[in-house]
């Protein structure tokens, strides 16, 4: 194939704006408006890639999303875009384009010898190969050789794609002739239309095929439609691919913009029209994948829209009337054209060499077409353009739940009326030809006669099918290197379902999604199994219609906008006090205060908190108010510990279990009055605990008797802990009521709300002081001054972790795993005593829940100063080495002067007093199994 640029044709390109780029190191010239494909074609570059498996040379086949071969790696400045289709990528100056799946490049690929081994690489190659012995030795090499482009891990595309929610009355997908007619009629009747097309301009196939509409050039009708749509309050979206249809008429659209970041839209449409046209099928003959074999429609598109003439001696092989326009246009552009029509009653083609009843059986050439074999005779040519008919583009229709029927007249699967709310029109509905497209589009929304055209309605095409008896290798899926023989082999091996065929042969997979191959696969499978095409069925159409960059789907919710952290009301004050922040349970909280090594600061804070006093910000702890006459009943059901027996003014520690019996969360429940509780969920579990409470409230307890309010973020809680707690609080001018441990009271402070709860997460006397956010700074300032006077210190979460570990207080998710039940943690009372139902109860009594080998919560005593690594496995000191459990928390205790550790250990409580091995990074040290509480085991400090 020898390409050239026609002197006049090319409606999309601007010859006054030259552009250049490199392809595999070769400089290529083009114009503004060119795609990479059109520029390469015009420059006569015919090998654009290598096939997936056999590394055969491949050139252009299609003109848009249907292109299976020309997939490139594109770099522009710092930007890297892998797997770009040449046919849909606009040429930009200074692009560096390289072929994929080739080494060193497509033209000189050193893996091309793979093609000679094709007999050893049949359908199902991967399945068969990786069952063989020692597959792990060669799997990495095969994996490296397979695939398309590679992502550059060093390049992170900017997170700048906004996601937009849009609503429209009428969405028309496709702005070809049928879409234009529908939009024109709808807009004139007052409908607000969104007209969307993936091309840069309205018109679709009219750009290449042209035509007269209402007595004028079609462009006048397109302009009138644009005006009517905009005038009626509608919108025109070009360069926009509607790539998925979802429930409730929600459609995803990728808007490609040249003047800014792309956009991603979720469009909710009251009514949707599918005018997505059709995709031309290939013909199946030996070597039909050679560079130079191209779709007729694509050849016409490149000629008319880009002025790229893809060959000089062209053979057109067809079985339908539509290709005659292509032949005529190519001949008029100066090419020598031979038209081969399979039909014996084919119409006469004026001024073109024509062969009727001509069967193309093979293409010849090594790296590009040099001749074609027609009826057994060699015909020299440098390009073969072929058409095996048209397949309606029904992806959106099927994604929305629509079914397909076989239309023998049109030789295609077409939408079955009434199976989807979408409205297919034009070629997408199997109505081919300009006249039918305009008529079906207008009929949806217009009255009377629609746009007139003098275009001739094409005759039904002659069915064309792959011929299994034809010698040579016929490709039916060029992207995935699937041949007609592969389908036969799959059928012989029992994979006769189309879904099995797809997975066994990879037919219709990857970025191509079978746009040009599915029909051939179905037809071939139907032929070899003696079924009809409808009996053979189709594979499932799934979004996206064409590949969408992950950066578009991810949008802006990346980096620091991904999983955003909640922020403390007192964050600025903590900053002023020297806090260094970390994320804890979805909140940004002070880890330590001051300058220096974080571990040293945490040790110092933990020591001062034990010796004098410390204050930490406990605001993220959940504050879920459960209110109503059914509140006690609800909490009894959702909690492991019974809460309805709690007295007003008191608090109780408890667990919430999952239905599997696993401990989901722990925390304190406060009862303020007969019908009002506060669930103090873990910081990271507030939303989850609320959801579980809500489930039970609505489904079990009765939604009119109890309600849940989350006021976590409206309140600030400062916890004062340590032996001088009372001094600090008194020094702050706060009169504490006489509260027992686990007592709670609401009492005003300077006329404002204050809740005081005597709850300890450190083992020392502690008070949680909770005030509204607006009063938090006042409370902080008072406590801060008093704390300094007492010699105490603000402590961060790292110190709190040490303090709670010294006392053996668990942290759900850190000290528990996905198997931990409450009795593993030593809480057996409710399990043995409660005879009522509660969430997770039944799972506790299963054989697994009652197993004697469950991992139980224990402490570990370590000799020496070295702190064992969290996660270290515990193993027997003798006998075969196996994991008995692992360390969940491990710290150096500044108050004990030695390391402490907590662990989940198989049958751990029975092992207290014994020694187990602690295995980490190849070394083993002995540790003693002890009670989890290492500090103040008689709990004297809690009331001290």
């Amino acid at each position: 194939m020898s390409g050239s640029r026609h002197a006049e044709l090319g409606r999309f390109i601007d010859r006054s704006q030259p552009r250049s780029f490199t392809f595999d190191g070769q400089r290529i010239a083009g114009f503004a408006g060119d795609t990479l494909a059109s520029a390469l074609l015009a420059n006569g570059v015919h090998i654009l890639g290598r096939s997936f498996k056999y590394h055969r040379p491949r050139g252009l086949w299609g003109m848009g999303a249907d292109e299976p071969n020309a997939i490139f790696d594109v770099r522009l400045g710092q930007e890297h875009r892998p797997n770009q289709r040449a046919t849909t990528t606009l040429l930009e100056d200074a692009m560096v384009v390289t072929s994929v799946n080739a080494n060193p490049n497509a033209a000189k690929d050193r893996f091309r010898l793979m093609d000679r081994l094709h007999r050893f690489l049949p359908a199902g190659f991967y399945y068969k190969t990786f069952m063989a012995l020692d597959w792990i030795r060669y799997e990495p090499m095969i994996r490296r050789m397979a695939g398309l482009g590679r992502v550059d891990p060093g390049y992170a595309p900017p997170a700048d794609v906004p996601h937009l929610v849009a609503v429209c009355d009428l969405l028309i997908v496709g702005a070809g002739p049928s879409g234009l007619a529908a939009a024109h009629a709808a807009a004139q009747s007052g409908r607000a239309v969104w007209l969307v097309d993936d091309a840069a301009q309205l018109g679709g196939s009219l750009h290449r095929r042209g035509g007269q509409i209402d007595g004028a050039d079609w462009t006048a009708f397109a302009d009138a439609t644009r005006y009517a749509v905009l005038n009626a309050g509608g919108r025109i979206l070009c360069n926009t691919t509607v790539w998925g249809a979802f429930d409730h008429n929600v459609f995803s659209a990728w808007v490609r913009r040249l003047d800014g970041p792309d956009q991603h839209m979720r469009i909710r449409a009251a009514e949707v029209v599918v005018a997505t046209g059709a995709i031309e099928r290939p013909l199946w003959f030996a070597n039909n994948d050679l560079p130079g074999v191209m779709s007729c429609e694509a050849a016409l598109e490149f000629l008319q829209c880009y002025g790229a003439l893809p060959g000089q001696r062209i053979l057109i092989a067809t079985a339908n009337d539509a290709s005659y326009t292509v032949a005529s246009a190519l001949a008029k552009a100066g090419a020598e054209v031979t038209l081969v029509d399979q039909r014996h009653d084919a119409p006469d083609a004026d001024d073109i060499t024509q062969i009727k009843s001509g069967i193309l059986t093979a293409a010849k050439g090594k790296t590009h077409v040099q001749s074609a074999v027609v009826n057994g005779q060699d015909i020299p040519c440098d390009a073969i353009f072929c058409s095996g008919g048209y397949t309606p583009t029904v992806h959106l229709w099927c994604q929305s739940g629509g079914k397909l029927d076989w239309d023998a007249d049109q030789d295609a699967l077409v939408p079955r009326p009434g199976t989807s709310s979408l409205k297919p029109i034009g070629a997408a509905a199997g109505q081919f030809g300009l006249k039918a497209a305009l008529a079906t589009g207008h009929a949806l929304f217009g009255n009377g006669n629609g746009p007139e055209t003098d275009a001739v309605t094409p005759r039904a095409q002659a069915p064309v099918r792959p011929d299994p008896n034809l010698p040579g290798r016929q490709w039916i899926d060029m992207q995935n290197d699937v041949t007609l023989k592969d389908v036969g082999l799959a059928a012989r091996e029992g994979f006769t379902s189309v879904e099995h065929l797809k997975r066994y042969t990879t037919l219709g997979m990857a970025t191509d999604q079978g746009r040009t191959s599915n029909f051939a696969g179905l037809a071939a499978m139907a032929a070899v199994t003696g079924r009809t095409i409808p009996e053979t069925g189709t594979t499932t159409y799934r979004p996206p219609f064409e590949p969408v960059p992950l950066s578009v789907i991810a949008g802006r919710r990346r980096g620091d906008l991904f999983n955003p952290l909640k922020r403390l009301s007192l964050e600025a004050a903590h900053c002023d006090m020297g806090a260094r922040f970390r994320e804890y349970g979805g909140w940004l909280r002070p880890a330590v205060y001051g300058v220096g090594a974080e571990a040293d600061l945490a040790q110092k804070e933990a020591k001062i908190a034990r010796d004098i006093a410390g204050i930490f910000d406990a605001s993220p702890l959940g504050k879920l108010e459960v209110i109503g006459t059914g509140a006690g009943k609800l909490l009894d059901f959702t909690g492991y510990m019974r809460m309805s027996t709690l007295k007003p003014g008191r608090a109780r520690y408890g667990f919430m279990l999952a239905e599997s019996g696993i401990v989901y969360d722990d925390g304190v429940v406060l009862r303020l009055d007969e019908n009002r509780f506060i669930v103090s969920a873990s910081s990271s579990h507030v939303d989850g605990v609320r959801a579980r409470l809500e489930d039970a409230r609505q489904d079990r307890i009765g939604h009119r008797h109890v309600y849940i309010h989350d006021v976590t973020q409206g309140l600030v809680t400062l916890t004062v802990t340590g032996p001088k707690t009372l001094d600090v609080i008194a020094g702050a001018g706060i009169d504490l009521p006489d509260l027992p441990h686990m007592g709670v009271v609401e009492t005003p402070l300077d006329g404002h709300f204050l809740r005081v709860a005597r709850i300890s997460f450190t083992g020392d006397r502690s008070y949680e002081l909770t005030v509204p956010g607006r009063n938090a700074e006042g409370l902080r300032a008072r406590l801060d001054a008093s704390l300094k006077n007492a010699g105490g210190k603000w402590i961060g979460l790292e110190a709190v972790m040490i303090l709670r570990a010294e006392k053996g207080f668990i942290l759900i998710g850190k000290d528990t795993d996905g198997n931990t039940m409450p009795h593993d943690l030593g809480w057996v009372g409710p399990m043995n005593k409660r005879d009522d139902e509660y969430l997770g109860k039944r799972a506790l009594f299963t054989p697994e829940g009652q197993s004697e080998t469950r991992r139980q919560w224990v402490g570990l005593r370590v000799t020496g100063d070295a702190v064992p690594e969290t996660g270290s496995h515990l193993i027997p000191t003798d006998g075969p080495r196996r994991s008995l459990g692992f360390i969940t928390s491990s710290y150096f205790s500044p108050n004990l002067g030695r390391p402490i550790a907590l662990a989940l250990l198989e049958n751990g409580r029975a092992l207290v007093g014994t020694t187990v091995g602690c295995f980490n990074d190849g070394s083993v040290r002995n540790v003693e199994v002890v009670d989890a509480c290492a500090f103040d085991p008689d709990w004297s400090r809690l009331n001290g």
Partner: protein, 170 residues
Amino acid sequence: MDERDWTDRPLAPETPIVLGDLTVTMLPQAGSTYLVSGKMDEVVGAFGLDNGIICLLETQPNAGSFGIRTGRNSALIIYPDAHELVPGWHPAGFAVSAAFETYETILLSGPGSAMALAQGGVADINATSKSAMLRFAGVSVLLTQGENGYLLWVPKAQLTYMTSFLSGRN
């Protein structure tokens, strides 16, 4: 690792953030707010709300007390001035909690406000809804209208994230 460098576009009532054609202004906090659930008819009567309970995208009154519906049988009650309601269960069939500063209110004004809503939302905000609560930029917020633009009631701990999200829009 110092993790202070998170999204940081704090908003103060006296300093609006101007983002091209969008202005984000933090409004002063209401006098007092309450979360109520239960029989809404009883709530309106019992609390003597001046302006009733408004729904999604309805206009907030300039003066007097009102509610914003947060669900089928729940609402956020707003009093411009300090107001004392008894939290807990009310025998008439509703529950009351003081909400304190659970929500901060930000005003989105200017020509870009509709586009800002389109970028953060996931639902059709023009569809009528009794509840003013919706997901916006991944956060559950309340959406109403004021005289000068849209009003977003954002959970207090997520206000900084929200202003960062709005600052980075295109």
